[in-house]
């Protein structure tokens, strides 16, 4: 067995290099999130009273659906080019493959979200760069990436994988979405830490469970 963290780093670097050359994931996630922000503006109307009420919800719908889009792609390349079989043949632990793929997805999702945030701020007239909100985004995205990497590895081997991933992913991550919307609502209203501690705890507990379970289950998913 090769060492754990060097393997993880190598896997992450492979994905980042691939992304630097193709720019597939970040561009599609960005374009999709941007479009959904614009469509929401039309769907909800331009009235300035409604904006602060719906803003956190809109932000998380955009992040969630854009995230699903990005997650769909994480295993498509591995699968279509026969790369996954190669990975499985190398003497690395399945946990290392999981953590490498998960950190890669996390990186791309966070990158896309950081770019979307100022656009969101402009379109919805709010100032989102608060440490509370950034922490919520980080924690929720860890949960998305850890659950999503597992489901993505499953969905890639099914027929109609584009619909299978959201079907599997969305109902399970509902607690993250609820926690994230609540905490960001409080953060955007300028609430204090004590107002959002429960929702942040909820996301953190989910993250830990999702990470532990996915790392365990990944071995059972990746057997060809």
């Amino acid at each position: 067995m090769t060492k754990f963290w060097p393997t993880v780093a190598a896997l992450m670097w492979k994905d980042i290099l691939l992304e630097l050359r193709t720019r597939d994931i970040v561009i599609s996630v960005l374009a999709f999130a941007l479009l959904s922000l614009v469509i929401f503006n039309f769907a909800l109307g331009p009235s300035p009273q409604i904006t602060p009420v719906v803003a956190p919800g809109v932000l998380w719908v955009a992040f969630t659906f854009a995230g699903v889009l990005g997650l769909t792609r994480t295993f498509v390349l591995e699968k279509d080019q026969g790369n996954l079989v190669g990975l499985l043949l190398t003497p690395t632990s399945r946990e290392a493959i999981y953590v490498g793929k998960m950190l890669g997805s996390l990186f791309f999702m966070l990158l896309a979200e950081i770019i979307i945030l100022p656009v969101f701020a402009v379109l919805f007239n709010i100032s989102p760069f608060r440490p509370e909100l950034l922490l919520v985004i980080l924690l929720a995205t860890i949960g998305f990436a850890s659950m999503g990497t597992l489901f993505s590895a499953i969905a890639v081997n099914t027929r109609s994988r584009e619909i299978m991933l959201p079907m599997l992913f969305l109902p399970v991550v509902v607690p993250i979405i609820i926690g994230a919307v609540m905490a960001s609502g409080t953060a955007l209203e300028g609430g204090s830490w004590s107002d959002m501690v429960k929702s942040i705890q909820l996301i953190a507990v989910f993250d830990v469970l999702a990470l532990v379970f996915s790392a365990f289950a990944f071995e059972h998913v990746l057997q060809e």
């Binding site: 597992l150 499953i154 099914t158 607690p175 609820i178 909820l202 057997q223």
Partner: protein, 230 residues
Amino acid sequence: MPIGAVLKNGLFVVSATMMLVVLYLVFMWVPTDNIQGTVQRIMYFHVPVAWVAFLAFFIVLVGSVGYLWKRTSKWDQLAYSAAEIGVLLTTLLLITGIIWAKPIWGVWWTWEPRLTTSLMLWLIYVAYLMLRAYSPPGDQGARYAAVLGIIGFIDVPIVYYSVKLWRTVHPQVIVGPAATGELDSSMRILLLIAAVTFTLLFVYLLTDRFSLRKSEDEVELARGLAESLR
């Protein structure tokens, strides 16, 4: 007749008879609730269905853990059969709940924690069935389903907690009279009888589906062998 078939037929006869008895008791014997009226009688279906649906998903969990551990197809067949019946029961649960809620609460639906959790449960296990349909057959599909069967069950208490937390932030429309009255002793007895009846029906459905699933897998195996010999 082999002993298994005798037991299964016996189970069918007993649960069908008891179901008729329960129907009679629900409409003829038990007193009408003095606040909710006749609508309350739906509880004798709703509550047992909820219990059996939960039992079904627990069996999905047991079958899933068993399959990932032992890798013998009977565990997978058990989980798959229980999931199908569980989705059916949760559908009934949601429908009977909606029918009851309209006259009592005045709304068809409210995002109350138990309702919302039931809906999420239904969605997760519908996804389970879709995953089975779209996965490659054999061991691979069974492993995928087992992973979801375990996550789905672990997720339920977290969903419940999160919806409760969410509701404390968003005040709800106050709906109708609260349905937390004391149960008359005859009502409690009937509820117990109904729960036993639905459990028996569930066991019958599960054994039936399980043996059918086993035959299906055997046919699939035989077909595979025939293909490879051709």
